[in-house]
Every structure is written in structure tokens, then in C-alpha cells.
Amino acid sequence: MNRTLKVGLVFVLPILVYFLIFFIYPIISLFQNAFTNNAGTFTLANFQFMLRDRVLQISLTNTAYYYIGSLLIEYSLGFIVAVILYNYTGKLTTVFRTIIILPLMVSPVVIGLMWLLLFNQTYGPIDYFLKLLGLPAINWLGNPGWAMPALIIANGWEYSPFVFLIIYAGLQMVPPQLYEAASIDGLNRFQTFRYITLPSIRGPMIIAFLLNSIGILKGFDLVYVLTNGGPGYATYILSFYEYVVGFTYFQTHYAAALAILYLVIVGVFVFAMLKLTGAEKYLGVERIKE
């Protein structure tokens, strides 16, 4: 055997074992469970049940609502704050940056607790401010119509710094010569942003979109702590429903079928995003071929 290949195989062996334990085995186990019943005989019942499972339909709709709402808030807020900090020329840049990214370091469970305190209808500061502004107080977590917006607000607070961090880092990498050229050409502020800045941060913008999307689709903790799916099924999302089926009702086989559905949704999403946006280039998959 070629010596280089041999050395390479030794180094790569642990991660191959890793794939066996953490990818191949779980996938086989999922299919084994999803296509059998408690007696261990082959069945399609789990997948047939999905088609008439009302709670699953609600969970999927909620997941879409949660995803779109969170993405809109996180992407726009993170982007705007990044542009603002980029335009700041004072000495406090590091201080502002540190404060803005604090939520990324806080455990989602603690974030759930924070927003429980903030959203409280009687003693919480949010409803207090609403009343100060002459608006009616909102029963954020108890009202089925407001629970999802509340969840999206909390999630937006948690992850908009993520988009901020990526976009801000991208903005700092724009070569200053480009701006000099723009000012020589007589471009105004808006034109400079549109024709110089935006095209230069295309990569970070795509990465932020992809990774933020995946982060939202992975979500579980905040729902579990802040609303626990409620009121009723108002904040059931796919991950939470799968957990309830598997570990509250102990229907392991149906939970496995739901996990396959979940994996397919995330897989198709990731694949489509990588193909449509060319994100692989920015993540550096190709660099290893050099």
C-alpha cells in the first residue's frame, strides 16, 4: 500500500468509526423502528398514520411559521445592526460588539427563563411598556395567537446576533480601495452600498442565511422551556412533537418515523440551499482538493 494513503487512513480511522456509530447505525435504527410495530413485524402503519395525524399537520404548519418569522426578524435585525456598527467610527466598537453578541453565549434554557420573566402579564416589563405607550397589555404566553410571536421574539433576540456577527465580519473584509474608487467615481452613499458593499459581502450573506436557517430548524429548547408547545398545540413544532411522541407517549416507532421525516426535510433544505446559493464554495468544501 502507498505510504501516504496508509498514513492518511490511520488519521482518518477515528472519524470513520464515528460515522459508523453516529450516522450509519442511527439511520439503520431509525428505519428499523419506523417500519416495524411493537411486535417487531414489518408495517407501513407509521407512515400511513402521518397522513391523517392532525397534530403533525399543526406542527408542520407551526414549524413553517416559526421558521419564516424567526428568519425575517433575525436576518433583518442582524443585518441592520451590523451595518450600523460598521458605520460607527468611535472608540467603543469592541464594547458594542461584545454587548450585541452576548445572547449567543447564553444557554437557550436561561433565555427561555428570561423571557418568561419579561413576558409575564402582571409583573413583566414588556406589558408595562405597552401600557405606558397606551397599548393594551398582551397575554403573550397564554393566548394561542400570541404564543408563537412571543417565541419568535425570544428566538430573534437569541439568534439575530448570529447574523450580525457574520455580516459584520464580512463588512470588515471589504477592501478599503473599493471605497476610494467609489468616491473618485462620485458614487453617493446609497450607490456605494448598493454597488460596492453588497456585492462584496455576498459570501457572508449566503452563509448567514444558510446557517441561520439551519439553526432555526434545529430549535427545541426555547419551545420546551418557554411555552412547552402550548397553549394547546399553538407552539408545537416538529422537533417538539417528535419529543412528545417519543418520550411522553413512548411511541418509539412513530417517533422514529417522524425523525425520518425531519431528516428528509432538513436534508432536502440543505441540499437545495447548497445547490441554489453555491454556499459550498464559501464554506470551503473545495479547498481540500488543492
Binding site: 498514513v7 453516529f22 423502528n33 447564553v106 427563563l113 420573566l117 420546551y224 418509539t252 425523525a259 425531519y262
Partner: protein, 286 residues
């Protein structure tokens, strides 16, 4: 004059944004420092006049119910620390460092790289049933190993991907020089290349430690009692505390929340320089 105006507007907007991001943390901190009399009052008190540390170590007695205490979270913290340290070190040194080095220098397989990337994107919930079944089969439910093993599922691909970028930055000439000096490929790896990417290794360790410390789902299904009898971690402690006492023991809860977030905030600030690079899987080097 026009420039000055924009500077002022930018500063005002930045202060507003900072307030938005710091207020929930501030509110949790002041709630922890208030007495229950000050917590349950309207209008809410934004600047408490005196600081009361009782919530951190005294069992609360609010509305006639005795609550858990923040200091009571120590047995859970022990578990969290041990699990996070072992999962992080095993995945970094035994799996990620050699694998990322091999991918960059020896086995240049794009497909293997894609698979690692995909592993970082799979939601934890997808594999919770198989992992639960493995843990039952191995008879390690409610032990450190149950969590260490399952946490490796997400720490290893993350560290591998991050370290690939760092290894890629090492000039090949450095390794070629070592080769001429007669070092074997294995010696080059752990005497030359690995020490050269120490900042990357430290970043991977800190960021993975934070994700292990914060992890909830696997700890929820795989553990059921605190140290010394079991392996339950801080997020599970806090979650059950929240579910049982969320309507009354706010001071104690907020204090426990402060305890839980303090270690990761400190680590996060230390690793701030690498946060962008780490969280974007190396795509942005900021």
C-alpha cells in the same frame, strides 16, 4: 456639520441596539438581586435600591411554598462540567484533529468533507430515539458516559470542520522542512502541525464546551438524577425548576439562571476573537 449629525444618529441607534440585547440579561440579574417583595410589585422596579443576595443561597419561601435554591444546582454543575470536558477533549484530540489533518493533507475527499458538514447540520432531535436505544442497550442510562458519547455526535464534526480551516492555513513548506529533518508523518502531525494550530484547538474546545454546557434534549432523555447518583446536567435542573416553580420562585430561578449563564458568558468573551470563525464553520474569519 452633516457628518457630525450622522455620527450622532449612528451612536444613538447603537445604544438602542445594545439596550435591546443587554436588557433581558440585566432583568434576570436584577430579579435575582431583588427580594420577593420587590419582584412582585407593580409598576416593576428597574433599579433596585438595595441588593439582596439571599436568592442565591437561601431556599425561598414565597406565597407559603418552599422553593429550590440556586446554590442547590452545584451537583448538576459537577455533571455538566465533567461531561462537557470529556466530550470536548475526546472529540477534539482523538477524532477531529487527526481527521481534519488527514482531509487537508492526505485523503482529499470532498465527499467525506460534505458528510462532516452535513453532520453539523442534523438536528439533535433526529437521532434521539436511536441514541436512547443504544444507551439502554449499553446499560449506561443516567451515567456520564451516556452524555459524553452522545455529545461527541455534534462536537466531533464541528471541531473537525473548524480545524480543517486552521490546518489549511499552515504553509506546506513548514511540514516539508520537518520531513527533510527526518521526522515521520506522525511526528510532524503532533510535534509541528498540531502545536501550530493551538489557537484553533483552543477555539474548538471552548465553543464545543459551551454547546455541551447548554445542551438540553439529550440530557433530558438520558439522565434522571443529579450527582452523585446520576448524570443530570444544569439545563435539566433549571428546566424542572422552571416547570415546577415558574409561577412563584422568581428570585431563586433568576439566581439559578445567572449561575448557569455565567461560565459560558466568561468563556464566550475569552473566545470572542474566534466566535465568528467558529460559528460560521470557518467561512468568515472576522
Amino acid at each position: 456639520m452633516k457628518i457630525k449629525l450622522t455620527t450622532v444618529v449612528v451612536l444613538i441607534l447603537l445604544v438602542l441596539a445594545s439596550l435591546v440585547y443587554i436588557f433581558p440579561i440585566y432583568w434576570t440579574l436584577v430579579t435575582a438581586l431583588k427580594t420577593s417583595l420587590e419582584i412582585f410589585t407593580y409598576p416593576p422596579i428597574f433599579f433596585p435600591t438595595k441588593i439582596d443576595l439571599g436568592n442565591f443561597y437561601q431556599p425561598g419561601n414565597v406565597f407559603g411554598a418552599v422553593s429550590q435554591t440556586a446554590i442547590g444546582s452545584v451537583p448538576w454543575m459537577i455533571n455538566s462540567t465533567i461531561v462537557a470536558i470529556f466530550a470536548t477533549l475526546i472529540s477534539t484530540f482523538l477524532i477531529a484533529a487527526p481527521a481534519s489533518y488527514a482531509l487537508v493533507r492526505y485523503i482529499k475527499s470532498v465527499w467525506l468533507a460534505r458528510l462532516i458538514l452535513f453532520m453539523t447540520m442534523i438536528p439533535e432531535a433526529v437521532f434521539m430515539v436511536p441514541f436512547f436505544l443504544i444507551v439502554i442497550k449499553l446499560n449506561i442510562l443516567n451515567t456520564w458516559w451516556a452524555l459524553i458519547i452522545t455529545y461527541i455526535s455534534f462536537t466531533a464534526p464541528f471541531a473537525t470542520w473548524l480545524l480543517m480551516g486552521f490546518f489549511n492555513d499552515i504553509p506546506k513548506s513548514v511540514e516539508e522542512a520537518a520531513q527533510i529533518d527526518g521526522l515521520s508523518p506522525y511526528q510532524i502531525f503532533y510535534r509541528i502541525s498540531l502545536p501550530l494550530i493551538m489557537p484553533g484547538v483552543v477555539a474548538a474546545i471552548i465553543l464545543n464546551f459551551i454547546s455541551c454546557w447548554n445542551e438540553l434534549l439529550y440530557a433530558l432523555i438520558l439522565t434522571y438524577s443529579p450527582f452523585p447518583s446520576g448524570a443530570q446536567t444544569v439545563p435539566v435542573f433549571l428546566t424542572s425548576f422552571i416547570i415546577v416553580e415558574k409561577s412563584f420562585a422568581w428570585g431563586g430561578l433568576a439566581a439559578a439562571g445567572v449561575f448557569t449563564m455565567l461560565p459560558t458568558i466568561i468563556l464566550g468573551i475569552i473566545a470572542q476573537k474566534y466566535l465568528a470563525r467558529g460559528l460560521t464553520l470557518g467561512a468568515v474569519k472576522g
